[in-house]
């Protein structure tokens, strides 16, 4: 299942995985803030946080190819926006700074999400007094996004298996139908989940 691979490693075992979620979240935030506030003229010294991250990555025992693939998936957006920075005096240096900062932060977040099950992060948010409605929404979203993404793929495949003449305009209509069907299924499932929650005492 495609989307599943994006947090495939969050349940593996390693020194990093065993650290408490709250600590990891705080560390990630701290690292992001540090990288953001790091003065531009000490650019070469960014090797320090970079080194820390690479150490963490190594200790986490997540396959480096996986980390690299995730990084490359998200880099083009970074490069695209950073390219706009070129159009000003000192642009190239600024662009380099942006790319380095972004990449370090990306690596931080990729490591965080792949060493911490989402359920644990939710628990941290709950402890931070995030409103219950938002927590329930996040919980249900995470739980069902794989289910719905799967349904979406299956519907798409089913429609394409009966598409014998490919016309681009037609494809949009087909995809729009999949999207509307997906919403119908999501809202029907929401009703059933509501019943299931009530059946177990939710009020």
């Amino acid at each position: 299942m495609q989307p599943d691979f994006l947090d495939r490693h969050s349940r593996s075992d390693s020194v990093i995985h065993r650290l408490p979620a709250a600590g990891k979240l705080a560390a990630a935030l701290a690292l992001v803030v540090v990288v953001l506030l790091w003065p531009a003229r000490y650019l070469p010294l960014m090797a320090v946080p970079a080194g820390l991250l690479l150490l963490a990555a190594g200790l986490s025992r997540i396959p480096p190819s996986f980390l690299l693939r995730r990084l490359l998936l998200l880099e083009p957006l970074v490069l695209g926006v950073a390219l706009l920075a070129v159009f000003q005096p000192g642009g190239w240096r600024l662009m380099l700074l942006l790319v380095v900062r972004c990449t370090l932060c990306l690596l931080t977040m990729i490591l965080l999400s792949n060493t911490t099950p989402f359920a644990d992060l939710l628990r941290v948010l709950k402890a931070l007094r995030v409103p219950g409605l938002l927590i329930t929404t996040l919980m249900l979203m995470y739980r069902y996004l794989f289910v719905l993404a799967d349904e979406a793929q299956r519907m798409r495949r089913a429609r394409m298996s009966r598409t014998f003449v490919v016309k681009r305009g037609r494809q949009w209509k087909v995809l729009a139908t999949v999207v509307s069907q997906l919403f119908v299924r999501a809202s029907e499932r929401a009703e059933r989940v509501y019943s299931a929650m009530c059946a177990r005492g939710w009020q």
């Binding site: 994006l6 990630a28 935030l29 992001v32 803030v33 990288v35 953001l36 995730r70 998200l74 970074v78 926006v81 706009l84 159009f87 000003q88 005096p89 600024l94 942006l98 972004c102 370090l104 932060c105 990306l106 977040m109 990729i110 965080l112 999400s113 989402f118 409103p131 409605l133 938002l134 329930t136 929404t137 996040l138 249900l140 979203m141 739980r143 069902y144 996004l145 289910v147 719905l148 993404a149 979406a152 798409r156 681009r168 949009w172 209509k173 995809l175 729009a176 999207v179 509307s180 997906l182 919403f183 119908v184 999501a186 809202s187 499932r189 929401a190 009703e191 989940v193 509501y194 929650m197």
Partner: protein
């Protein structure tokens, strides 16, 4: 349009974070008061729906593909406050779980896509659907609102990037707004198609705009409007008032040395002011014409999807308790 970490400076990140937290707080309070218990799981499931729908690729010319953003679609189906919660949830999960959108930029992303795009887009939808009745009116409103929402969100995004000093306003605005004016067309088309599809199969899911807004729609929009206006005042208007025109000016400035980077040079004030007003009127006219043109396109689309003589309106569902 997810801004990654590292692009926004501290002040922008904090300011947008505060605005986003305020907007989300309002939405949650609204939902706690008005959302019936049986619709609570629908928020989570809708967030999952938006995420799953965003993964479907709509083929565009030459091997590229676009995808739905879904802010206005969500707002049309669930109402503005629920949409804010849903879109924020999507952005939070995308940030924490998939590193899509920076942690420090979460506030800005929520402000742009949930508040400006979601509520702003819904406001456009509400007004247009009141002006043009029936299913036709709603499809037209949804298509146009989706386009507006995409463009408005991109302008806010551009403002934040410029305010952080990473890109020049004169570069980032035309790029982002220009690109998103095109992306917005796709968004409008998909939203219109989806809404028409739903009206055929499950019309009861499309609530009357008045019903989702609740008792005081204008009051609600006003509250969100204050937040959005504040944000735009912080990030967009400083540039709008002194933006030189387009890329030719910036190319000129590339020759300047680093010291001149921060302030906009004004060697000949009178000349510059003249160019400003001319340029501003010019861009404003272009913008207005473009918007009208898009409205016309949406009209044609809605007409094509809901031909005359079709049932005038979606079967209005019984009012909810």
């Amino acid at each position: 349009m997810h801004i990654p970490d590292g692009f926004l400076d501290a002040k922008t990140a904090v300011a947008t974070g505060a605005l986003a937290a305020a907007g989300l707080g309002i939405a949650l309070r609204q939902a706690r008061r008005h959302l019936p218990a049986r619709r609570v799981p629908l928020l989570g499931l809708s967030a999952a729906f938006v995420f799953a729908a965003q993964m479907l690729n709509f083929p565009v010319a030459g091997g590229t593909s676009g995808h739905l953003i879904g802010a206005v679609l969500t707002a049309v189906l669930l109402g503005p406050s629920a949409a804010v919660i849903v879109i924020s949830a999507v952005l939070i999960v995308q940030c924490l779980m998939f590193a899509d959108g920076g942690l420090s930029a979460l506030g800005a992303n929520i402000f742009n896509m949930a508040l400006v795009g979601g509520v702003g887009g819904w406001a456009v939808y509400y007004l247009v659907s009141r002006a043009f009745k029936g299913l036709f009116g709603r499809v037209l409103a949804a298509a146009f609102a989706s386009w507006c929402s995409t463009v408005m969100a991109s302008v806010a995004c551009a403002g934040e990037l410029a305010a952080s000093g990473v890109v020049r306003w004169s570069v980032v605005l035309p790029t982002m707004a220009g690109v998103h004016m095109l992306i917005g067309l796709g968004e409008g088309l998909i939203t219109a198609l989806v809404l028409t599809g739903l009206s055929r199969t499950r019309p009861e899911l499309i609530l009357e705009p008045a019903q989702v807004a609740g008792a005081r729609p204008y009051g609600l929009v006003a509250v969100y409007g204050v937040l959005v206006a504040l944000g735009l005042a912080l990030f967009v208007s400083p540039f709008a008032s002194q933006s030189p025109d387009g890329l030719d000016k910036t190319a000129e400035e590339l020759g300047f040395d680093a010291k001149a980077r921060v302030t906009v040079p004004a060697p000949m004030p009178e000349y510059t002011i003249q160019r400003f007003s001319g340029a501003r009127v010019g861009t404003s006219i272009a913008g207005a014409v473009g918007t009208i043109a898009v409205f016309g396109l949406c009209w044609g689309l809605a007409r094509a999807l809901v031909p005359k003589g079709q049932p005038k309106d979606v079967a209005a569902p019984a009012p909810r308790q």
